[in-house]
């Protein structure tokens, strides 16, 4: 992503320790960071935690920011990597709970956490959208990030490539495979069939 002058000025002020600049940064990017985390985690609480951690990390490490990537790219990168980390931890916890339950230990973690079904899908009864969201969550990490950034955050291929530190053809390939998988699972539920 190209670094605009406003962004560069904001980074310079942040590196000087300006609180006003930090407040501006949070106000400007909190929505994008939160929505990216929410798209990957589908849990408002976890997305909020990830968004907070992203801004804390930015505050603590901005002095080391050299501008190889744009600030926006860096924020998306932090948001996606932290979200995936959170998800991996949750899965590991679930696996551990399952394992201990096999051994006969009582384990509260085994109880399924509340299913945070997407509000719009619930509200309008759009089962197809909910089905799609369920299958997006099952995609491999890289495919999921690419698909989410493209179709939910409306990032360009170049921007996604910068976030994933890869090339545009690699992003095209990730998206192609993600769409193929998703269509295979969602298509049988279309009305015309």
């Amino acid at each position: 992503m190209p670094v605009d002058s406003g962004e560069a000025a904001l980074v310079a002020e942040l590196q000087l320790g300006s609180e006003v600049a930090f407040r501006t940064l949070v106000a400007r990017y909190q929505g994008r960071v939160y929505r990216t985390a929410l798209s990957l985690l589908r849990s408002p609480e976890e997305a909020e935690d990830v968004a907070q951690e992203v801004f804390v990390e930015v505050y603590q490490t901005i002095s080391r920011f050299r501008g190889e990537a744009s600030l926006t790219t860096w924020l998306y990168r932090l948001a996606t990597s932290r979200s995936l980390k959170t998800r991996r931890k949750a899965h590991a916890k679930k696996r551990f709970a399952y394992f201990t339950s096999l051994l006969g230990f009582d384990n509260d973690i085994l109880h399924e956490p509340p299913d945070h079904a997407h509000p719009q899908a619930l509200l309008e009864g759009r089962q197809q959208l909910q089905l799609l969201l369920d299958h997006i969550a099952r995609l491999p990490d890289q495919q999921q990030v690419a698909f989410t950034l493209r179709h939910e955050q409306a990032l360009s291929y170049d921007e996604i490539a910068a976030v994933l530190t890869t090339t545009v053809p690699a992003v095209e390939s990730l998206l192609f495979r993600a769409r193929q998988t998703l269509r295979k699972h969602v298509q049988p539920h279309f009305r015309h069939v």
Partner: protein
């Protein structure tokens, strides 16, 4: 009259689904998000000033550390089975009996 005119192709259905995905309402974090971020920053700064790593602020880790400290401090030695220390009488057992000078 056939209802085929109302039917859509899989490609159109897919495109429609993608539109729905993109047209979702723009979610936002709860109000006063900035305040929560700064609160977290200051709590981490306090922990740093105290010289405590952040993980130590978690009660489970702190409790575990306490148990380890207790175990290492030697208070747990009472729980250990005492080794067979030979008694005074048995210590003499097998020793050649030397005649008393008196």
């Amino acid at each position: 009259m056939s209802d085929s005119s109302f039917r859509t192709s899989p490609d159109e259905e897919w495109a429609d689904l993608m539109r729905q995905l993109q047209d979702q309402p723009q979610a936002q974090p709860r109000p006063f998000f900035y305040n929560r971020v700064t609160a977290q920053l200051s709590s981490r700064a306090t922990a740093h000033r105290r010289g405590l790593p952040v993980w130590m602020l978690r009660p489970a880790y702190a409790a575990l550390l306490g148990v380890i400290m207790l175990a290492l401090s030697g208070d747990a030695s009472a729980l250990r089975v005492a080794p067979d220390v030979p008694s005074e009488s048995s210590a003499d057992f097998g020793q050649p009996q030397t005649p008393s000078p008196h």
